[in-house]
Point group: C2
Chain length 344, copies 2
């Protein structure tokens, strides 16, 4: 196929590095002509774009687990995409794939970063949520590093979010007692009433350390760390001997330090890890657990079909609304996995 | 046996809690009459007493992995002891046992804390060193948590000491590149020339961070943490992605904080654990790995017999010299596993 199209690609590029919360002058929408695929390539149409906290880290010019974006780069992101044109032997027009096209309408791919989607998947956005990276992250971090036993106490921050909601529900399925932390009364009600956590605390309340202490009379055995900051500070004194802390994110620190502590607590943390024989371990789902995805997919699909797992999505219509949606995600205004519907 | 003896027991008790380095006014020698064993008990004669850094922690009135000593208690410690009298069916006079008699000539035991020593052991102090708690600690922490692969870089502080020397030699046997850190030129020469580490740095030198950077051109994959403080600070920026840090002690902090850092590095540490996907894990050998002792004993005995492991002891004669020997241990003046020969 060598048709010449006159497609226009809308794409968001990094115009300058954000200070704190990214704005529409940091992330700018461009319209550019879209090239047709070269031999060995496919042209992809973005249907759904996943918005995730890690994207904020990629906008800074500091070393992280992935190289920073350069000025002018398209903002990265996982997508559910449809093959529009194919000059690649393994792909045909109309096929649905999990891709990494980023914040744009179209992208070219040589196929190496694509995964064909299960054609029986009933709800495509699940590929970016419960059955995708966030669900996989929550499941593996909890089961492999956290490894809760029946009767143990698991604490999950951002409990109504894409990762936290999976962590807590899987911990309940393992027989643990689960305490969530979320922002606001509405989210907390959802966490206890719909997700089935034993308790949920509003981190906007007056005395989080005191409330957490009351909610965890037997201490904390597993803390799934995905927010950092004041929540970690409240959790820290309650950690039990042999506590496990899977570390998969620190959203509260992505927009810069907010700490008010003036002395160095690094020796305290290391001393506590020693005295309480704790395990603190960071992980990045794709690099550390990629080969376990099929097993996860089978297990989570079975739970989903059996009605044992709930998962809420916050779907925003229109690529042009991505910056606002991303701001909502970083400030906790979303309610459920944040996804942009780009086309259908 | 109901002989009445007029034995005198010399014992060291905690007279008051030390501020910083313990002195002879904190740890005081008493002479008291020694009771004979009651039914079900054995009377033990201490032959060798192990001196270890953890004892300092037990002298403080702060929660740790073991309850603190009370004022008036005999200082705890592992011993090689001989059964002098027995009213216990499982023990006979003359048998040698690993005991926990503490800093004294005699002790009574109901047998529950005793382990009969391998009668083929050629060198009794090994039961307190290479084949005892320190060797077991180094071996398990390195192999289970550190898990070095061939070609990786392992850094060990207190490299000439009882634990560190085992960590480094086992890492070499696993094919790793091993860099030790020790106090003074003599110890460093021993670490490279006798123990066979690839390099050893003197932490008393001017620029430990710079020297460590030069000695670890490929970064650090495993840091066996048993000192803390300035050594950790030098190691921290060099840690590689997926680095592992077994945490088994922080001797530099046992006598109180010495840090000069004025800002809070806890968020930095947690952020680094996330970004570099590190594993930081504390352990206490007896509680976490007790059931693996027989396998360790077989492996280490085989290496010892084959001449593949060197182990240096610093044996002080006379129970009365225990306080001075303990001070030497805490300030790094010992050279090898510190043991007091109490009787023969």
């Amino acid at each position: 196929m060598t048709t010449t199209s006159s497609r226009i690609n809308r794409r968001f590029i990094l115009a300058k590095r954000p200070q704190g919360m990214p704005t529409a002058s940091d992330i700018v929408l461009e319209n550019v002509p879209q090239d047709d695929p070269a031999p060995g390539q496919v042209l992809l149409r973005t249907l759904y774009l996943s918005l995730d906290p890690y994207m904020r880290g990629r906008m800074d010019d500091t070393p992280s687990y992935a190289p920073p974006l350069n000025i002018g780069d398209v903002i990265v992101g996982g997508t559910v995409s449809r093959v529009e044109q194919s000059r690649h032997p393994d792909y045909s027009p109309g096929e649905l794939v999990l891709a990494y096209s980023g914040w744009q309408d179209y992208a070219l791919s040589d196929g190496r970063d694509l995964h064909k989607l299960d054609p029986t998947m009933k709800h495509l956005p699940h590929a970016l949520g419960l059955l995708g990276m966030p669900g996989f992250t929550g499941y593996m971090g909890l089961t492999d590093i956290g490894a809760p036993r029946a009767g143990e106490t698991v604490v999950v921050a951002a409990a109504s979010g894409a990762v936290g909601s999976v962590v807590g529900q899987v911990a309940k399925l393992r027989g643990a007692r689960v305490v969530g932390i979320a922002g606001g009364e509405q989210k907390c009600r959802y966490v206890t009433d719909v997700l089935g956590f034993d308790a949920c605390l509003d981190h906007r309340g007056n005395d989080l350390p005191g409330a957490l202490n009351s909610a965890c009379p037997d201490g904390i055995d597993v803390y799934f760390e995905n927010v950092g900051g004041a929540v970690f500070d409240a959790v820290f004194p309650l950690l039990n001997t042999r506590a496990r802390i899977p570390v998969c994110g620190m959203i509260s620190q992505y927009n810069g330090p907010t700490g008010s502590v003036q002395h160095d607590r690094l020796p305290l943390l290391m001393g506590t890890i020693l005295k309480k024989r704790m395990r603190v371990q960071g992980f990045i789902i794709s690099q550390d657990y990629g080969e376990q995805y099929p097993a996860f997919y089978r297990q989570m699909s079975a739970w989903l079909d059996a009605g044992k797992i709930q998962f809420r999505e916050d779907i925003v219509d229109g690529l042009e609304n991505s910056v606002t949606a991303f701001q909502h995600l970083l400030s906790g205004k979303n309610f459920g996995k944040m996804i942009v519907r780009v086309a259908s």
